[in-house]
Subunit: 351 residues, 2 copies
DNA sequence: CTGAAAGCGCTTACAG
DNA sequence: CTGAAAGCGCTTACAG
C-alpha cells in the first residue's frame, strides 16, 4: 500500500507537501498539486484512515442504534433510511456503524457503543416526546442529529417534516371540500411524530370550529389491519355518526381504510374521502391505489442526505441552531378525496 | 481521556509494561498486572482504537453489504441477522460497517468499500450458486465468511445449514408416512440455498423410487401468496393428480399452503400433510399454526455468533478449512403431517 | 520481569 | 510555496 512518503520520494517532495496537496490546501502550487495527484493515482494511494484518525482525533465513523420492533413497517422504513444514509455518509467519507438494541434502557446501547468505539456522533431516529437520549448525549458532549423532532428544547441538529403542518394541510383540504366529520387514524401515540400529528389535527379542527369525538382519533403502529378495523368500526357507526373523511398516518393505514369502505358497500371518494401521509416507500405507492390516493408527501429518502450532512457539519463545528430543518410536506390531490356527500355537511352532534 | 502514559506515570511504569499488562501478556508480574488494571479502571482508560489500528494494521471493522430486495421476508431475516451479528461482533471487539447496495454489478460495492475503508473482512450472505463475490474477494486477499454455501470449491470459511439434508429429512419423514406424491414449494432458485434444497429433494425422491412432475417443484421468493397460489393450483389438479404432501421452503409459504388447503375444503393433516423449513423468525412461529407445523428447524439467530467468530478467527490466522460449519437442521414433528390418506398411496402416474 | 527505542502513517504549527 | 520536526497513542522486537 502506497504511503505519502512513497509519493514524496517519487517526486522529491516532503510528505508535508504531499499531504497538503492531496487535501487541497490553497497554498500549494497548482502544478505541484497536479503532479502529486497524478502520482497518487498511479501508485493507487489510499490514505490510512487509522493514521488520519489518530492525528485528527476523529474516527470518521458515526453510530446508529436501531430498536428492533416486531412490526414490519418499521423494517421497511429502516431499510429505506439505511440505504440513503450509507450513501450520503459515504460522500462525506464517513462510515455508519450499526448496532441493534434490545435493552429496555433507552441509553444503555449508546453508552456501550461510546465505550467500545471512538465515534464522532450519532444519528437518532424514532424520537419519543421527551427523548431521554437527547439529554444523555447532550450531557456527554457527543454530537448527534435527530430524525424527527422531540420537545427537549431542541438545541441540537434535526431534520423533520412539519408533522403538525401535515395534519393542518389535510384538515384544511377536507374542510374546504365541506367535510365536517373527519377522523384521524394516527401512528403510535408514543412517538413524537404521532403526537405532533395529533396536536396539529386537534388544532386545525378547533380553528375550523369543529370538534372530534375521542373515539375518532385512534393511534397505533401503522398497519393495514389497524386501518381496516378502525375504519370498519367507525363506518358501522359503532362510535356514533360515521365520519365522511379519514386522515391516515400512512398509506398502509389508508389501504386498510379503503378496503373497509369497499366492504361496507361504500365508495371513495363519493361517500368517503381518504387522505394519507406518504413517506414514498417503494413498497406502497399511493398512485397505484384505486382511486389514486390524495396525500401529503415527504419522501423518507429525502431525509437521508440532510441528516448525514447536518451531523457531519455539526461535528465540524457548525452550531446546532443552524442545522435545524423543518420540512413542509407537499399536498398532492388525487382521486381519493372529494366533496362532502349530502348528509355529511353537518358536524358531529355534541354528546 | 487517559492514555497508557498516564497510567505509567501514576505507577512509575513504562508504557510498554502497561501495554503488556493490559493485553494480558504472560510475562508481566501478577502484582504489576493488578495494579495496572486497577489504575486503568480508576482513570477510566479506554484504548485509542486508531492508535491500535495504526500499529497493528487492523481496523477492527468488518463490512457487510446488503442488497435491497423489495420483498419483505428479506427484511425480516436481515433485521434478525443484524441483531445477532452486531452483538456477536461486539464481543470480539469488532464493529460492523454497513452499506446498502443498489449496483447491478455484484462486486462493485465491495470494491468501493475496500477503497474507502480499511476493513479486516466481510460477511457475505445470500449466496448464488457460483458467487462472483467469492472469487473477487479471494483474489483480492480479503478475508470473508459466507452465510450459506455456494459451489466455488469452498476454500473459505462458511456457516450454513445442510440444505440438501433439509429436503432429505422432509422427504424421508413423508415417505415413511406412506406419501408418494410430494410437492416442493421452494425458494428463489437463483439462490444457492434453494438450489441445494431442490437437489436434495430430487435426490431423496429418486432414492425412494419416486418421481416428481416438474410442475410440482416450484420456486420463488418466499411469500404467503406464492404458497397459496401454487398449492391451490396443485390441489385443484391443474398440473395433474394432486400431491398429498407439501415440502415448503419457509413457514410463510406453509401459511399460504394451509390457507389453500382450507379453501379447497380439505384438512391438514388428514387430507394433506405440510412440512416447512423454519428459520425461527419471531414473526411467524410454526407452533402457532393450526395445526402446529412440522418443521425442519434451524434458527437463523444461531448463525450469527458462528459467523462472527469464524470471520474473526480467520482474520487472526485460522485456516479456512477449519472454519467451515455445515449444520444439520432439527426435525420437529407436530400436527401438520400425518399418514398418507387413502387414494394417495399411489405415486404420480408416469406421463 | 521491565524499559528504552523505534515506528505505524498521517497532520500541522513553525520556519524560511 | 515548501520542508524539517514534532507528535497523535499505541505495540513490539531488542536488551538487560
Amino acid at each position: 500500500m502506497a504511503t505519502l512518503k512513497d509519493i514524496g520520494t517519487e517526486l522529491g517532495l516532503s510528505t508535508a507537501t504531499v499531504s497538503r496537496a492531496l487535501n487541497g490546501f490553497p497554498e500549494v502550487n497548482a502544478k505541484t498539486r497536479d503532479k502529486v495527484r497524478k502520482t497518487a493515482d498511479k501508485l493507487g494511494y489510499r490514505p490510512n484512515r487509522s493514521a488520519q484518525r489518530l492525528v485528527t482525533g476523529r474516527s470518521g465513523m458515526v453510530g446508529m442504534i436501531v430498536k428492533i420492533r416486531p412490526d414490519l413497517s418499521a423494517d421497511q422504513t429502516f431499510v429505506e433510511i439505511l440505504t440513503g444514509l450509507t450513501a450520503a455518509l459515504a460522500k462525506r467519507d464517513t462510515d455508519l456503524v450499526l448496532a441493534v438494541d434490545q435493552d429496555p434502557d433507552p441509553v444503555a446501547a449508546y453508552k456501550r457503543m461510546l465505550e467500545r468505539d471512538m465515534l464522532d456522533g450519532f444519528i437518532l431516529n424514532a424520537p419519543v416526546p421527551q427523548d431521554p437520549r437527547v439529554d444523555f448525549l447532550t450531557q456527554a458532549g457527543v454530537p448527534f442529529v435527530m430524525h424527527g423532532q422531540c420537545r427537549n428544547d431542541a438545541a441540537y441538529p434535526f431534520y423533520s417534516i412539519d408533522n403538525q403542518g401535515v395534519s393542518a394541510e389535510a384538515v384544511g383540504m377536507l374542510t374546504a371540500l365541506g367535510h365536517k366529520r373527519i377522523a384521524l387514524l394516527n401512528g403510535d401515540p408514543g412517538h413524537a411524530y404521532a403526537a405532533d400529528r395529533l396536536a396539529g389535527f386537534a388544532a386545525a379542527m378547533r380553528s375550523a370550529d369543529l370538534r372530534v369525538p375521542v373515539a375518532f382519533m385512534a393511534g397505533a403502529a401503522p398497519s393495514e389491519s389497524f386501518g381496516y378495523a378502525q375504519a370498519l368500526a367507525m363506518l358501522a357507526g359503532q362510535h356514533g355518526t360515521p365520519p365522511t373523511a379519514f386522515v391516515c398516518a400512512s398509506t398502509l393505514i389508508a389501504a386498510g381504510v379503503m378496503q373497509a369502505v369497499e366492504d361496507r358497500g361504500l365508495r371513495v371518494p363519493d361517500d368517503v374521502s381518504v387522505i394519507a401521509h406518504d413517506d414514498a416507500l417503494p413498497q406502497t405507492r399511493a398512485i397505484n391505489f384505486s382511486p389514486a390516493l390524495t396525500v401529503t408527501r415527504a419522501p423518507l429518502r429525502d431525509a437521508c442526505a440532510p441528516l448525514a450532512n447536518h451531523l457531519i457539519d455539526h461535528i465540524n463545528g457548525t452550531p446546532a441552531r443552524a442545522l435545524q430543518t423543518l420540512l413542509r410536506a407537499e399536498l398532492i390531490r388525487r382521486g381519493s378525496t372529494g366533496p362532502v356527500p349530502s348528509g355529511g355537511e353537518m358536524p358531529w352532534p355534541s354528546t
